[in-house]
Every structure is written in structure tokens, then in C-alpha cells.
Symmetry: C2
Subunit: 370 residues, 2 copies
């Protein structure tokens, strides 16, 4: 079985050539959306917002920076000047509600520490704005639900910033998995981690809601879910944290967690705040599909190994970056009235699973997922 090399090669070729065009409905959405640019208010001018997100607007077809929100006047002045956002469109956390009156702002992008996601997403929904919120969505599934409820009550959209779903190598890998080019999936192995620097909000549980699992392990969790195309039914997890390390006074370091999917696929996942990892491998009966690195800001590589031969499908990366594609996607969903690929419900699913991971590692037992 699976001996039809010609068909497989053809499929791999297709997957590669298709590139960004394989984004679910991306072309359709873009078409219906026309050229109108919706305005984003960027809430929180930290490193990720200023170095990754804001420069990406230059590539966007349907999104532009319309307003800035920060507690630091110097940042408002500096980035206002850099991106041409006038002082009338600068806000702080006390004047945040005035965004309601700014008709240039369609979407509020929450790029704050995790513990502030729910509050500012809900305040933005109440201000009548659509919301993009960074991942992890919030510190608890209850908070996630209240964010979903607030967006629904406002009749506005809510999307979570899962950039990898808009990254061409990851999109191509999903496609190759669905086409079973290495046979039916049997195992998934994915690991994400880095050696975290001390003295930052991520290491303060009150601000982050948790340790590596919330911050970087969520990439392993996401990869396992989008590469399998299934929802896990069971989780088993083990933690290892050196509490003498001052970085880990309140949050966990390493987590090894295993997800079982309905088809029988097992995903062996790693999350670490003390070792470098960034990879995902889908192992089928005949070989594997590998993203290594899988989810960096840039430089992903996709390899396919079937029956002892490794190929690296060419991926078209000439289109907009994952950051720009993500920004455009929400705008296009609003312009064409569609549900985003990664709505609030998707963020909630991850947080529910992360809560099960924590329960499993704390109680030393298998935890079933509803």
C-alpha cells in the first residue's frame, strides 16, 4: 500500500506550488474584500507589537494602523511619528474607552500581558470594535468564554493571533497531511522552547497565567491540532521545574504532554523555558512530514521523507508575511462578514486543553477532554 510514488510526488508538488493559495478561502475573502483598509488600534507597544506586527502593515491590502494605545507617552510619540498616527489617535489605559468615538478604528489588537487580555478585549468589544487578541487568549477558560460572550453581545468579531495558521510552510504541511503523502498519520512529535531571560512579565504568574506551556508550549499544542486536524480526547502530562532557579519561582519550566486524538494518533509534545526547540514532525506509515524550524518569525523549512528519500518542497514565500496575512484576514472577514479561521472559540479550545495539561501534570493522571 501507499506504493504509488507518482501520485505522491504529484501531490507533494501540488502542495508546494499551491503555497499561500491553500489558505482556506484566502483568495475568496481577499477578492470580496476589495481594497478598503480597516483601521487597527494597537494596544500595548511592547517588543512583539513594535518589531513584528506594526512593520507588517506595510504589506497589508486591507489593514492599516489607525491608533495607538500605551501607558508610556514616549512610546506614543515615537511610534506615532514612525507610523504617521496623529496625537488625536493616541490613547492610554484611562482614555481607552474613547476609542468608541474614533470612526477610523475598526479593530482593536490586544498585545498586552496575558492577564490583561480579557479585560481589554471585553472593553474593546463594549466600545463597539472588532477584536484581535494575542495568544494565549486568556489566563482561564472562564475568561475566554466571557471574551467570546462580549464580542457576541456587541455583534463584533473576535480573532486570536495564531500567526502560524497564515504561514506558508505550515499551511503546506497541513495540506500534505490531509493528502496523506506519507500514509495515514500515526504519530506527531512537536517541541517548542527557549531559554527564557529573567525579569519579565512572562515569569510572573499573575501576569502570564502560567509558564512555558502558556507562552510557547501553546505552539506545540496548536501544531498537534492543526497537523492532525482532530481535537484531542485525552491528555497526559509531566512537568519538570527547578524551583531553585529564580526564573521559575511562580511558573513551570518544562512540560512533556501527550495528546490522544480520536483516530488513535498520539501527539508527543514538549514545552520548555530552559532549552531550545522549534519543530513539528508528522509520522505516517511511510515516512514523515517535518517543519524544522516550524514556527519562528521567519526561516521555516518543510521536508518530506517517504520510503527513505527526503525532499524539500519549494514553498512560495513571495506573498505577505504571516503577520500581514493574519492582519488582513480579520479585516477581510469583517468586510465579507465571515468567521475568522481562528476565532475566540479556537483560543478557548487551547486554554481548555492547557488547563487539562496542568491538571494532568499536577495530579499525575490521564485527563479526559470533553
Amino acid at each position: 500500500m501507499y506504493g504509488d510514488t507518482t501520485r505522491r510526488d504529484a501531490l507533494i508538488g501540488m502542495g508546494a506550488a499551491a503555497g499561500l493559495a491553500m489558505l482556506p478561502g484566502a483568495a475568496t475573502l481577499a477578492q470580496g474584500a476589495g481594497d478598503r483598509k480597516l483601521g487597527y488600534a494597537i494596544v500595548g507597544l511592547g517588543s512583539y507589537a513594535t518589531r513584528q506586527i506594526m512593520p507588517a502593515f506595510a504589506q497589508c491590502r486591507n489593514a492599516r494602523i489607525a491608533a495607538l494605545v500605551s501607558g508610556t507617552p514616549e512610546k506614543l510619540a515615537r511610534y506615532g511619528a514612525e507610523y504617521g498616527v496623529p496625537a488625536t489617535h493616541h490613547y492610554n489605559y484611562q482614555t481607552f474607552e474613547r476609542l468608541a468615538d474614533n470612526r477610523d478604528v475598526d479593530i482593536v489588537y490586544v498585545v498586552l500581558p496575558v492577564a490583561m487580555h480579557a479585560e481589554y478585549s471585553i472593553r474593546a468589544s463594549k466600545a463597539g470594535k472588532h477584536v484581535m487578541c494575542e495568544k494565549p487568549m486568556a489566563v482561564s477558560s472562564a475568561e475566554c468564554q466571557s471574551m467570546i460572550d462580549a464580542a457576541k453581545a456587541a455583534g463584533k468579531k473576535l480573532m486570536i493571533g495564531y500567526r502560524s495558521r497564515f504561514q506558508p510552510h505550515n499551511v503546506a504541511a497541513i495540506d500534505l497531511c490531509r493528502k496523506q503523502v506519507v500514509g495515514p498519520t500515526r504519530m506527531i512529535r512537536t517541541a517548542h522552547g527557549f531559554s527564557i531571560q529573567p525579569d519579565q512579565w512572562r515569569l510572573d504568574r499573575k501576569m502570564s497565567g502560567g509558564g512555558s506551556m502558556m507562552d510557547i508550549g501553546i505552539y506545540s499544542l496548536q501544531a498537534a491540532r492543526y497537523l492532525s486536524g482532530e481535537e484531542p480526547v485525552e491528555v497526559m502530562a509531566t512537568e519538570s521545574t527547578d524551583r531553585r532557579d529564580p526564573r521559575f519561582a511562580t511558573v513551570e519550566d518544562r512540560v512533556d504532554f501527550t495528546l490522544r486524538f480520536p483516530s488513535g494518533v498520539l501527539a508527543s509534545c514538549i514545552s520548555s523555558y530552559s532549552s531550545p526547540h522549534n519543530e513539528a514532525r508528522v509520522i505516517g506509515t511511510d515516512g514523515y512530514i517535518e517543519l524544522d524550524p516550524a514556527t519562528p518569525y521567519q526561516g521555516q523549512r518543510l521536508r518530506v521523507r517517504v520510503k527513505g528519500e527526503t525532499t524539500e518542497p519549494a514553498i512560495d514565500t513571495s506573498g505577505p508575511s504571516q503577520f500581514a496575512a493574519q492582519l488582513d484576514h480579520l479585516a477581510q472577514c469583517i468586510l465579507t462578514n465571515r468567521t475568522p479561521l481562528v476565532p475566540g472559540e479556537e483560543g478557548l479550545r487551547d486554554i481548555r486543553i492547557i488547563e487539562a495539561v496542568y491538571r494532568s501534570m499536577n495530579e499525575g493522571r490521564r485527563v479526559a477532554l470533553a
Copy 2:
């Protein structure tokens, strides 16, 4: 920290150059052993014995084939002719005890289905012979203990056929781990598996004692132990077996198991009878040491990635193969009266951990190891 690239490079270079010489005491043992060749009786003339082990004697300094044991007269005739073993040195399972009277036979190598390991190892010890037994050592820790007891009562040695401990890339990887060339170890990831063909003793629990975990998962378990240099204190495991697949009527297919070591290192291990895997990666704070493939009969590769740069240390493979080195090792231990690197107690340790893996996956909970 760990920024001393020059020192690290030097260590990597050393590790590579040292090659087989790093085998614990190998040179010393070989020296003291002189040139005398001890005689092996090969028990069970299946594929592994005839294709891997028997051809390796040609490279041995202290070992030779002295006798053959098989239930199939045609095999005795064929391999007797091929290896110059006269009919006087052919045995079957009824005449096995007569090995006691054959002074050309020093060592009995048990290469039978796992369920027969204990019986024939014990019969060999009682016949006054040293024993080499294939892995997994036996179907239960109780059987392992009885094999150890029998060898001890006979005043003879017992070694388990862990060939990877004599394989240069694996030996070099162990050395690089001890020298912390990628910083202190934080995680280990290792996977072993293949798509098993139907209709063989490995798929009959009565003959094999278990499924993939016993047969191929044991390589992941061994790698985690010898690369960490520690004994696990805790195991957590998840199984996935499609019982509709006729291959898996009595044995398990996939097992994902996590070992926790006293230092806090976690080893994420995979065993599979339905997907191809053969790799081991030790992740330190600064990078990783990777064996990929890790434990095939030949073709291992060792890579070291530190601070974004990958190197492939040159390994001297001009010496005897892992099979020959293993055969010589037991002979040299006998000639110099030393304890083998992988005695019966080592086989027992693995079986105890495998029993804990089975308990964990069946009960869905963490299992502590004594």
C-alpha cells in the same frame, strides 16, 4: 554562560577523534585478554543470528563460532558448512544439555523468541556456560532475576545483547553528553519504530511478552538511560493500538512514554509498530546532540547543534562493528574476569521500567520507580 566556544569545539573534536577508544575499558580489556578466542554456541538460527551476529565473528579478536543449536536440521547443515562447525558441534533443543560436555563452547548466545530467553539462559548456566542473551532479556522481571540467579549459582557471566553500547556514534554521543557540550541536559527525545510485517512471533504475546515496547521501544528506553546517564524515577505512558488491525490482536502498537530522571531531565520516548522512527536527541540549554538514525545496524549519524551552528563530528568507524565489539566484549570480560558493561542486571532494569510503562498506560497514571 556556556559561551566558551573554543573549549566546546575542542571537546567536540576530542569526542569525535576518540571514537571506539572511549568504550569503557575496551582497550584495557582487549589488552589483558590476549589473542585467545572463546567459543560461542549460537542458539536459534533466525534472521538476526544468521544475518547480523554470525558474520560479525570474522572481525572478532577473542570470539569464534564453536557450536550451533537449532530445531531445524537443514539450518544446522547449511550454517555448519558455511562457518566450518562440524556435525559433532550441532545441537537441537533436546540435546542442548550436552553442550556441558563440549569444551570448545565457553559462551552460549541465546537468540530465541523472548519467551524462551529465561529457559535457555538458565539451562546454559546450569550447563556451566557463560551466557549472552538477546534483548529484551525476558518477558518479566521475575524471569530476569531467575536468570541472574542461575548465572551467579554457576559462577558464570551473563550479558545482554545491547549492541548500541558498542556502536561508535552512540559511544561518542554519550561522551559529548557527559562533557555537556550543549550545556546541561534538559530534555531527551527519542523514538524507535517500524511498520511490522504480519505473521511473526513478535506479534504473539505468548512468544514476545509484549508488543513494540519490548521489541523496539526498548531502544528508546536504553537511549534515554545511557544518554542521560541516570536511572528514571518516574514514568507516564500512553498507548494507542488499533485492535481491528490483525497484527495487534495480542500486543500493543504505539506507546508514548515519558521518563523523569533525578536531575529533572525529562525523556520523551516513542515506540511504534506502525510508523518508522529511529532517532535520539539530547537537548541542552545551548543546543542539541542528535543521533539520526540512532540505532540501525549501520549508517548512524551524529550531529551537534550549538548556538545555531550544526557540525557533524567525524567518527572513526574503521574498527570492528557493534556486533563484533559486543561479542568480543563478553569474551574479554571472561578472559580478564571483569563484569560486562551490560550484565543481566542491566537487562533487568529495562524490564522493570517496561513493566512500569505498561502499568502506567493501563492505569492512566504516573508510576514511581523504586
